[in-house]
């Protein structure tokens, strides 16, 4: 059957078409590209998609196409799963992936298989109707996380982008990326309209006629085509509106075809033949004839999936023409037909039709089924919508009401709709058949806490504890949650008390999650109350409890708390890293595994074991994280790339982060901007570095002290670099950075000791950078910074401070010997970490002041090689082997495997090595080894 065969010529889009193809071919380093075509209905977006797909198909592209549905409640990932089904005709396995990430991974795998070694072109029409899961998948793929070389071509109706459409922000964020283009498709110009009219009519067309078409159509190609056909067929149109044009067409249809077209307008496209046959009460032959007529009159198009209206504009016109009773009857017939057709029904479509048929009692089961199906696919947003519909379908006296309300509240909470969740709990609380008082208070408290209303949340937890029907189990749970909340609020004494209560209750009656939650709260509150030993032992105990329960989530949470405690307030980074890696080896599930590895990588980065950090990140990425987990890892990896000086990789990961953040995630914006500034600084792009930092300064919350510290230091360092390079320092920017530093000092004074310890080093760096910008050449602030960072056991900032200290001393021509030693130390650290840009910066300073670095000139023998050899001579042969492996960046376990000794023995050897060399960290040990080697 004719479908798109008799289209008019493509006018005025040749340039656009070529541009789109070249954008899609021009993939970024991440292997992905995207073009979003926006424009009003009928402007020719779908046509452009089709033409592009046809042009690229058969070249080195594998093409997949899908269309989003406007039923508002499509099932999760609908367009992509549809595209996959269209491709292989078979069924994609949707049954219970282990988590949301696993689902994304599975879809990516299917796409990868289809693509083979070609680039994949994913064409998505009507993206404005895409469900949340589809949007997330799109960002996941574009960020390169799916490991699919994919180019996305999507069409979006401009009308939909008004108001509050979520794609607005997504597009606003994406359009800054080099691999993304947004093409705004404008209506045809007067000349182009004339060409199109001539093309359709054939031969010559009077200029007045063509211009009348332009005036009436406003250059909308869809309307132009229709009007030009009228002109060709000698029909005189008096109507001006699209609606009238089409209604007069409908009147010309034979009666049976008329019926088909009206039915189609109520259906969800594509409408399968079997379904249509049940909806339209005609004999087989009559039906086919009617469909043929509808196709011939250019209302209906047909392809292998079924029938669809040629354009949604037509459906919109027709929908207004059908009487409500007629529409209800059509929807009922669609629903009945879908139920009658063999196989698993599409609950979403069924729910849609039964609702519009005005039969809520038939719609409800389909809606509930759709909600549960969406939850199985981790489409929480979609599930939330179904539960909302289910609420509308159940009256106050319906026996399912309480159950539906409970589910609806929880799903709203899961989607971050805290207000809605709370209002549903209120209704639940007012019902006689609802849950008990304690349960209601507990729910309300959790939702309030999630909404950031901590004061009221606290009251609700206390009420739950006081409620007469509170079971011991609920009591344990409420106390544990309350303790957790109080830790966040910094009220450690009270947190401690509630955590203790919770521990006692949970030990007898509670669940493992409550026990683990309470232990963590107890441990952190103890540490913050300056009893680190007690705190640590409680959290260690939680790990043992979790090990006994063996549940993946309990294990994951417990290990994470311990690792965070060690790397955070206790600053025992090496041990924290060890714990995190051990936890990641336990059966903890993808989410906790990647989070634990992220903690390990961060710790390794801080202690200067960059090669090892990089290896850990590779492992973490191989678990294919998604969402916030992926952002964390990408940011860590990008930090490494910047440090290593691998610019392209850094840019790729930054773009990937920006892509993922287009879907939301405010708390990662600051680290992203900091990295952007750092990268720009090394590239000498002063303006860009400044812009990133200044933007960051407008988006910092006063409680992110560490993040602000890092950002401000980056800003001042970039200004100092600009100053040194002879570029202009922006006085406004500098003034704001100084204000930020002052604010940091004030805020630090009010914060607890753990925060103080973490922030003070950055304040020192900021102060020192300011002295550099002011040309003071003062080694003292740098010396202070170096001391603090040595104490924090973080070699990079310590070495950096040492470099600047040496530079200032050399400039002032004071204490040259000490400066040379400092410079060499810094250089050894930089080379041991693989920090190439930093190392070359040190070389630059050394050359400027004619200082010979240790291995600057390989032909010149080291200053005191004998001495260094002596230093290693105190080690046994075994200890030297271990040290060599440490310097390679191997972990204790890897060393154990390599040398065929236990991990524990490696630890013992390391202890001896540290003692003999009088060092405290692996980096320092490696430095001694590498200087000697």
């Amino acid at each position: 059957m004719a479908s798109q065969g008799d289209e008019g010529p493509l006018v005025g889009r040749t340039g656009t078409l070529a541009d789109i193809q070249s954008y899609l071919r021009n993939v970024g380093p991440g292997g992905t590209a995207a073009v979003f075509v926006t424009g009003e209905s009928g402007v020719g977006k779908s046509r452009l998609l089709r033409e592009t797909a046809d042009a690229l198909r058969g070249t080195d592209f594998a093409v997949l196409s899908g269309t989003c549905l406007d039923i508002g409640d499509a099932s999760p990932l609908h367009p992509v799963l549809q595209a996959l089904r269209r491709h292989d005709g078979g069924h994609t396995d949707n049954s219970g992936p282990a988590d949301a990430g696993a689902l994304l991974d599975r879809v990516s795998h299917a796409l990868r298989t289809i693509a083979g070694n070609r680039q994949l072109l994913l064409v998505l029409d009507d993206l404005q109707w895409a469900d949340r899961s589809t949007r997330q998948l799109l960002l996941y793929l574009l960020a390169g996380l799916g490991d699919v070389r994919v180019s996305v071509l999507a069409a979006i109706r401009a009308e939909a982008l008004h108001g509050t459409h979520p794609l607005r922000r997504v597009l606003a964020e994406l359009r800054r990326l080099r691999s993304v283009r947004v093409v705004d498709l404008a209506p045809l110009t007067q000349d182009q309209t004339r060409d199109l009219v001539t093309g359709i009519v054939g031969g010559t067309v009077a200029v007045e006629d063509a211009d009348r078409v332009f005036k009436r159509s406003g250059g909308n190609p869809f309307v132009v085509e229709e009007l030009a056909r009228d002109l060709r067929d000698g029909r005189v149109e008096l109507s001006d509106t699209l609606r009238e044009i089409f209604l007069s067409r409908v009147d010309e249809l034979p009666p049976n075809a008329h019926q088909v077209v009206h039915a189609m307008a109520a259906g969800v496209e594509p409408v399968e033949h079997a379904v249509l046959a049940r909806v339209v009460p005609l004999g087989e032959d009559q039906l086919i004839e009617a469909i043929r007529a509808a196709v011939a009159h250019r209302f209906v198009a047909s392809d292998s999936d079924g029938y669809r209206l040629r354009h949604r504009l037509v459906a919109e016109v027709l929908e207004q023409e059908v009487l409500p009773a007629q529409s209800a009857a059509l929807h009922r017939r669609f629903a009945e037909s879908l139920e009658a057709v063999e196989g698993d029904p599409d609950h979403a479509r069924l729910a849609f039709h039964w609702q519009r048929a005005g039969v809520p009692e038939r719609a409800l089961p389909a809606v509930l089924a759709a909600a549960r199906a969406a939850e199985r696919l981790y489409g929480f947003a979609e599930a939330h919508r179904y539960w909302t519909i289910a609420l509308q379908l159940t009256g106050d006296d319906c026996e399912d009401r309480a159950d539906v309300l409970g589910n609806a509240a929880e799903s709203a909470h899961q989607c971050g709709e805290h207000l809605l969740a709370l209002s549903r709990v209120e209704e639940l609380a007012a019902r006689t058949d609802g849950p008990g008082r304690s349960d209601v208070h507990l729910r309300r408290a959790r939702y309030l806490a999630a909404a950031g209303r901590t004061a009221t949340a606290e009251t609700e937890y206390l009420r739950a504890l006081d409620a007469p029907d509170c079971t011991p189990r609920q009591r344990a749970s409420a106390a544990a949650y309350l303790a957790e909340l109080l830790v966040h609020l910094g009220r450690y004494a009270e947190a401690h008390q509630h955590a203790r209560d919770a521990m006692e209750l949970a030990a007898i009656n509670g669940s493992t999650p409550d026990l683990v939650r309470a232990s963590a709260a107890l441990g952190f509150s103890a540490v913050f109350r300056e009893d680190p030993a007690a705190g640590l032992s409680v959290v260690r105990q939680a790990v043992e409890i979790a090990e006994r329960s063996g549940h993946p989530d309990d294990l994951g949470v417990a290990y994470m708390h311990l690792a965070e405690l060690l790397t955070g307030p206790l600053n025992s980074i090496e041990e924290g890293v060890l714990v995190a890696r051990r936890g990641a080896d336990r059966p903890v599930g993808r989410h906790y595994r990647t989070r634990l590895l992220a903690i390990a990588a961060k710790g390794l980065f801080r202690v200067g074991q960059w090669a090892e950090a990089s290896a850990v990140l590779d492992t973490a990425m191989s678990y294919r994280p998604s969402g916030a987990d992926a952002v964390e890892l990408l940011l860590s990896r990008c930090q490494l790339w910047v440090g290593f000086g691998e610019v392209d990789n850094a840019r790729r990961d930054l773009d990937a982060v920006a892509t993922l953040l287009a879907g939301g995630g405010a708390r990662h914006v600051l680290p992203m901007l900091t990295l952007r500034a750092g990268l720009a600084m090394w590239q000498g792009e002063h303006a860009e570095a400044r812009a990133a930092v200044q933007r960051g300064l407008t988006e910092t919350r006063s409680d992110d002290l560490v993040l602000i510290g890092v950002l401000t230091w980056h800003g001042l360092r970039a200004e100092a670099e600009a100053h040194v390079a002879g570029a202009r320092v922006d006085p406004g920017a500098l003034r704001r950075l100084k204000t930020a530093t002052e604010r940091l000092v004030t805020a630090m004074g009010e914060a607890g000791p753990a925060v103080q310890a973490a922030v003070t080093g950055y304040v020192d760096l900021c102060t020192a950078e300011i002295s550099r910008i002011e040309d003071r050449h003062d080694p003292d602030p740098w010396a202070r910074a170096a001391t603090v960072w040595d104490r924090r056991q973080q070699p990079y900032p310590a070495a950096y401070s040492r470099l600047r200290q040496a530079e200032a001393s050399l400039h002032r021509k004071v204490r040259r010997a000490a400066a040379v030693t400092g410079l060499r130390q810094a250089y050894a650290t930089a080379t041991a970490m693989g920090a190439r840009p930093f190392a070359s910066e040190i070389r630059g300073v050394a050359q400027r002041f004619r200082v010979a670095l240790a291995d600057d000139e390989p032909t010149v023998p080291m200053a005191a090689p004998a001495l260094v050899t002596d230093e290693l001579a105190v080690l046994t042969v075994r200890e030297r082997e271990v040290l060599a492996a440490v310097a390679e960046g191997l972990t204790n376990r890897e060393i154990g495997e390599k040398l065929f000794i236990s991990e524990r023995t490696v630890g013992v050897h390391l202890g001896h090595i540290f003692d003999k060399l009088q060092v405290r960290t692996r980096v320092q040990a490696s430095r001694v080894y590498l200087t000697a080697a």
Binding site: A158, T164, A186, T388, G416, G452, R453, A666, R695, E699
Partner: protein, 256 residues
């Protein structure tokens, strides 16, 4: 061919609007660029009614930016996103108008169509712009921002307090604008009862900004329902358009 909408500066206008600023400094830069171009639109040049609104908007945004740098908001990430999202709607409306697209919201079209003159009454025009921006754009910008940040519009929250702080900025800036233009009228009012129009102006913005917050809460609850959302959008557009017409009609002459 039809006349370019912005006359000789059409190209500059569409080049400028091709940019999509994504932070508050970028918004300030864009508004400053627009100010420059708008003052060159014939025949009214500096007397161009849109230039008056743009000037006011630029001043207010500069003020917001200074407060952001000075750390005077509780949740700067929220306010920055809101500011960018809010401005984007003004830029979008300008872009649609520049392209002669029917998508330009009615409330903005009502003001834009006055740019070529001959009517020249700066204060009602600036107020009409404020009306369009606050009554129509702001609720949607709020909802988009909350949606993006994953938080709810809750009364008394940090975000609400920051939002209310912007009322103070409006209150600070609007009398200044008025004094710039309305010496004659001010003289009259001042002899009568002092600060009546300050009160009127300040109250109006504060009042409508609160309405915008309420409207945002209303839209928030239906934001997943495309149909209800479109309906609400049309309702807000027609209400605001009506108010805008009133402000630009001879009725508002008393302002002049």
């Amino acid at each position: 061919m039809t006349q370019p909408i912005w006359g000789p500066v059409q190209q500059e206008m569409s080049d400028l609007l091709r940019r999509h600023p994504d932070d508050v400094p970028g918004v300030v830069e864009q508004l400053a660029g627009l100010q420059d171009v708008l003052c060159r639109v014939p025949p009214l040049l500096h007397g161009n009614p849109l230039a008056d609104f743009n000037k006011l908007y630029l001043t207010i945004t500069e003020n917001v930016l200074e407060r952001l740098y000075a750390g005077r908001f509780k949740d700067p990430a929220f306010l920055s996103r809101l500011d960018v999202e809010f401005a984007a709607r003004y830029f979008d409306a300008l872009r649609y108008w520049t392209e002669a697209s029917p998508s330009c919201p009615g409330v903005w079209a009502g003001l834009f169509c006055r740019v070529p003159g001959p009517d020249q009454r700066p204060l009602p025009s600036a107020v009409a712009g404020v009306n369009a921006h606050i009554n129509f754009d702001l609720p949607f910008a709020l909802v988009t921002t909350f949606d993006h940040l994953g938080t709810d519009p809750i009364d008394g929250s940090d975000q609400h307090e920051d939002y209310l702080q912007v009322n103070d900025i409006f209150a600070e800036e609007i009398p200044g604008l008025r004094r710039g233009y309305l010496d004659r009228w001010q003289l009259l009012i001042d002899t009568m009862n002092g600060d009546l129009d300050d009160w009127w102006q300040g109250e109006m913005v504060e009042y409508t900004r609160n309405v915008a917050w309420r409207n945002a809460q209303k839209i928030w609850s239906i934001r997943h329902d495309q149909l209800a959302l479109d309906k609400q959008r049309r309702r807000l557009d027609s209400t605001a358009t009506g108010l805008g017409k009133l402000l630009l009609s001879p009725f508002a002459d008393f302002l002049q």
